[in-house]
Every structure is written in structure tokens, then in C-alpha cells.
Symmetry: C2
Amino acid sequence: MKSEIVAVGSEMLTPFRQDTNSLYLTEKLNEIGVTVAFKTVVGDRRKDLVRVIQTALERADIVILMGGLGPTEDDLTREAVADALSLTLRRDGALVAALHARAAAWRISMPQNNLKQADVLEGAVVLANQNGSAPGQWLDMVYSGYRKLVMLLPGPPHECRPLFDNECLPRLGKIIPERHIARRTLRAAMLPESQADKLLAPIYSTYADVETTILAHAGDIQLLLICGKPTMEAARQRVDELAGKLEEALGDWIYSSQGESLEQIVLYYLGLRQATLAVAESCTGGLIAQRITSVAGASRSFVGGTVVYSDELKTAFAGVPAELIARHGAVSEEVAAALANGIRLQTGASVGMGVTGIAGPTGGTESKPVGLVYVGVSDAQKTEVMSRTFRGDRQRVREYAAQYALDLVRHRLM
Amino acid sequence: MKSEIVAVGSEMLTPFRQDTNSLYLTEKLNEIGVTVAFKTVVGDRRKDLVRVIQTALERADIVILMGGLGPTEDDLTREAVADALSLTLRRDGALVAALHARAAAWRISMPQNNLKQADVLEGAVVLANQNGSAPGQWLDMVYSGYRKLVMLLPGPPHECRPLFDNECLPRLGKIIPERHIARRTLRAAMLPESQADKLLAPIYSTYADVETTILAHAGDIQLLLICGKPTMEAARQRVDELAGKLEEALGDWIYSSQGESLEQIVLYYLGLRQATLAVAESCTGGLIAQRITSVAGASRSFVGGTVVYSDELKTAFAGVPAELIARHGAVSEEVAAALANGIRLQTGASVGMGVTGIAGPTGGTESKPVGLVYVGVSDAQKTEVMSRTFRGDRQRVREYAAQYALDLVRHRLM
């Protein structure tokens, strides 16, 4: 079955706001085997809206309208659907009473306009909205000789999404043949994007029944595997089989076989080894600490770190000898090693990490260009330094450097 | 004039990818007085695409198609436009030669398929693409008795956007009456979102010719003012007049009158006062240091900081007496003050900031709930602590806390 998602609201035709509900609905629709064939954004003009609804009914079996159900004059979705389908709107007594009760509970007076939200399309089922005053509506009807499903949902995400989950999905489930969906997310670090598809396409393309999506960002690659089958066992078996082959092909690049983030995995390994981590960051400026501490419970394995932007702090907080910096420069293999080892000793953590590099846009030289990053990882046994040169702007270099550094710690702990 | 932006590509009908080019194009179109009335996303099915193009031509004067110009079988935009408008496609000799030259320069063999990119619609102007192999196309024609402009642009943002700027905007400029656009961005910190509009709407609503947009995120509010007039002087005068009134209404909440970020402003004030800053972060875990160091040149005023997640590091790196932590708890006014003062003394910075709080989701108590944050700011004169309780999840609490802390430093430096 083909669906169209229509986002209603002039604010989504500005440069500043984007419909994101449709991504959520798409995921849920795909899971039950419904394709999204068209997405449309239309403003709050009744004429435009009527036309968009008619176009959608002509090309899709399921039409989901989001937004335009509120109490203001700009909220015209109900009226436009009535126009488009030549249906009458009837003011629902129970909904009027509920609106009055709601206003009383909030101790606010109710403007006459609000009652619009009690208008129900002829033949529509009212869908209760737990999180707002405008209910949704569900129409199961015949248009130009074909069965069509039309859903009217409120626009705010915290109203739209639960209402769709609670009221629309179960109804769709009764109409669409049941499928069970298995999904897995594999994640890989520092695998070049250009290599990923070359390496993986020959494998996943033989699994036509498993939808494989590759998402890449700053040294992080996510492989999303989704399979729908009549039974969950059959779906899961296909996904797991393909996941196994992909994991084998990617070897150490894979850090997560269930979608966990790299910082979660690093914390997991630290816990497993009863180890603790401390970091001394220069060019990443707190990005690594911030990623690690974004995980709830990070404090069990992460003692903390330092952002040693000045040379003096490299000495004061990570014990890097001033003459080492003078001799080799702050961005050097030697200083990365000293940062890693020093922060470990100063904090008593079992693993220390030191990052120094040139994030840019200035500060590069011929021998040490913008993007050059040294990462030291130190434990009681040894201190090792690796280096890479990343291309791109300041933000990109910093993001790649943080990813690279976390991945090196993962390798040390594996 | 009304326009429709059509994003072509099945990947944009998945839950994972969204068209963002349209936001960029909308901004540029609005600037020259063109409204975006519809946005559509359609997959790589020729029949669907033809229909979408026809619908767009019926309801808009300007139709901008993005994507589907590449060399693969799925790239069908040229063919679909030809179908929709009953135009022929002609293979352009000069473009074929350019494709061969490009392949030779990259030392790659050229598959036959690639030549599709040299197909030009009857009557179209070829738009040079500096950043990719598929050129854009521009059609100025009559459809059902009305003049229509149709643009075919490549999908990748780094191709689409410069091509639109360099090739389409100048052509549109010759057709659409010239307008000059003035714009200003004001930014305010920690102004409650619910208050912003209540306070500002009575002011900006009297400037109907200045488009005012309020964007809010985690304690940061942006006011975007845009005005188009026949002369730049007239446009700028209206924007500046409104900006002046808004600034007056917002007083100290305003931190930036030209769109600079809060971290940029803090660095600006540090430079002005010839002061330096060091931070000791607990619950924000590096978020503040990361924001400051995201600004190029931050090292001139930011010496660095510490992420003192463990109590031991609070003592080791910021000199917080262990018995102070034992007596008052790590999340306390006293520890925030000691962190701020301690990090200042340990680093020799002129201003020290200390942040401690409970980011959640666990760790809250009745007297110290999740979301409670203390921020200390210390300089040679005094050490002050402020506290707030933020609602929301771990990420939201951390983001608000970082914003709040940076804003307190701004106030100290003002």
C-alpha cells in the first residue's frame, strides 16, 4: 500500500523549520509494510490545502495529514478535508463538553474559536489525543471508486506521535496483513565511507528481503538492517544471518552489534576490565569528555579529564615537561604520549588518553598541516601514539579526532 | 510569485534522510520576494515523478527540482520533465566532450550510462555545475497559457546550493522586480520561551513589513529580522529601528545584536577585558569547554579546563577540600564556589567557573532533585554562586546548564 504524508503549516515553508514527524511516521509505516511514496508540505491556505488533499487521494491509498487542527483561524485541515471530499462537519457534543472541562481544569476561559476543535467529519472516527486539546480523526472511505484511509493528526510531535502509535497503528494493523519486523544496527568506527559500500554491497545485495541502509557521519558508520516476515523467527533469522556476514567482513571496524554508541562501548569495556579512564584534550577541547559523560552512569568508569588548551595547563594538569613542549612543539607525538601518561598518573586512572592536534582554520605549517592529530593511549603496560590527518573545517577535524581517539581506546581495551 | 520545491530521491522517503536543500533555497527565494507555497518529496519512480511535476506546474509559477540528475538508472528527472512537458531530450555534444575530459582527468573509464548527463531538454539553458558532473537546466516556457520557470538542480548540497546561487538567482533577478533585503539576528540567553513572545509580539507586530521569526533552543533565543525594500537604506532602517526597540525591551537578556553565539560573546568580552577563563565542569562534562573551543582562536582567552567527574579530581585539579565535599556534598553551593575559585587559582586564569549539578536520570533526592545545577564564577574580587533547577532529560539539563553558566560569565564580564 502506498501512502502520502502531508505536513500542514506555513511555518514549515520558512527556512527555519522542518517537518520531522514524517520521519517517525515513515519508520512506523515501513514496519507494517506501508511505503511512503510522497511527502508534501503545504501552508495554511485553504485553497492550496484542498488541492493537496485531492492530489494525495488520487495517488496514494493512505493519506496522513499532520497539523492544522488547532483552534486558530489558520487551522484549516478539517475544513479542507470536508471541502476536498464534499463531507459535512458536525460539532460533536461530547467533544464540546470535554473542551469545556479541559478549560475549567486549567482555570482558563474558553474562547469561542476553541470549539472548532470539536468539529468532526461525516463518517470519521474521533481519535483521542492524550496530550492536547485537538483530537485526531480517522476516515475509512471510498474515493473515485477506491478504498482510501485518511488520518488527521495534530502537528506538535508530542501529540502527533503517540496518537499515531495508539490510535492509527492498531487500526492499520487490522487492515494490513500482519508482518513481523526484525531490526539490527551495527556500528563501525573509522572505516572510510568510500570503502564501506564497496566492501558491503556484494554481501547485503544478496539479501534482497533485508533492507540495508548505511549512514555515515564523522568516522562513524551505522548499518541498519530491517526485515519483515510473517513470523518474527523468520525475520530475525534473516537479519542475524546478514549481520553475521557483515560483522565478519568488517572485523575490528565493527564496535557495536546492537546499535550502542562508541562512548557506550568504551564505557562497557572499561567496566568489564574494571578500568577507569581519564583524558587530556587539547584540540578536541572537551568533545571527548562531553561524549563520554553524555552516557548516564559514566561516572562509574570515567574519572574526568582536562582541557589543556594552553601549554602551561599541559604541564600543570598532565605533567608534561615544559621543555618537551619547547623541543617538539605542543602538537607532537611526544606531547601526546606525555599527555596520556601524565593524565593517567595525575588522576590515578588505569587508562589515560591524550589528544593534541591542529583543528584549524589557522595554525598549520608544511610539516604539521591543519587536521593533523596525535592521540596517545597509556596504561600501566605501555604508552602508544597514533596520528592521522583529517580533512575539512574546524568542526569536522574535531569530530573526527574525537571519534578516532575513542576508537583507539576501544582497541586498547578489547 | 509562488514556487514549489521538489526533492527527488527514494532515500528521502526513508526514516533516515531528509531534504535540507529546500531550507537553503527557501531562504534565498524569500529574499528576492518569492514565496515557497509547496514542498514535495518524491521517489525515483518515473510515473510518480511525471505526475508530481505536472501538479507542481499547475499550482506554482516556479518549479525547482532537486536530484535525479546523476548517471544511474534511478536518475530520471530529465526524462520525467520531458514526459511531463512533452519535450524532447537532445544529447549535447559539448557536454559529452566535457564528460569525457572529466573522466580522463580523473583517470577513470567512463561507463556508457554517464552520457545521460549530457541530455538537455528542448529549449533549456544548461547551467554549469562547478562541483559535479551533472549540469543543471533552466526552462523559461509557457504551460497551459501561463509563463513558468522550471529549474533542474543536482541533489548533493555542495552542488545544488552554489549552482542555485551562481546560475539561478541572477536569472531570477532579471525576471523579478529587484528588492533589497536587510537582516539582523538578535540573540538572548535564559529568557523563558513563554515570556519571549508575550514580551515581543506587541512590538514586532507593529512592524508588518519586517518578518520576525523567533527560534528557541535550550535557553537560547534567536530573533531573526528580515525586511525587503526597493532600497537597501530603507530596508536597513526598518530592521534597525525594530531591533533597537526589541533590544530595549529585552535589556540584559540580549547578548548579541549581530547574531554572534554566546561563546563568541564570552570570548569577545574576555579579550576586551584582557581576561582569561578556566572552567571546572562536573555535570556538564566538557560541554562548556567544547562550546568555547569550537570558536577559532579561543586559545587567546581560554586557558582550558577540567572535567572533574570524580570527587578526587575536584580536589586534585581544582583544589576543592575533600572535607568540604564530605560536609556539603559534591552538588552544593560550597563546592561550586570552591571549584570556580580553585580552578582560577590553579590555572592562573583571571576568571574561574565551576559547575556542579545532577544531570540525571538518577542521583536526585528530595532536597537536591535531578536538574539542580550550581554555577560558581570567581575572579580576584569575588566568588559568586547561582543555582537553577532545569526540567527535562539528561541532555536537556546539560545543555541548559552550559548555557546558564556561559551566561553568568557574560554577566560578570559585562
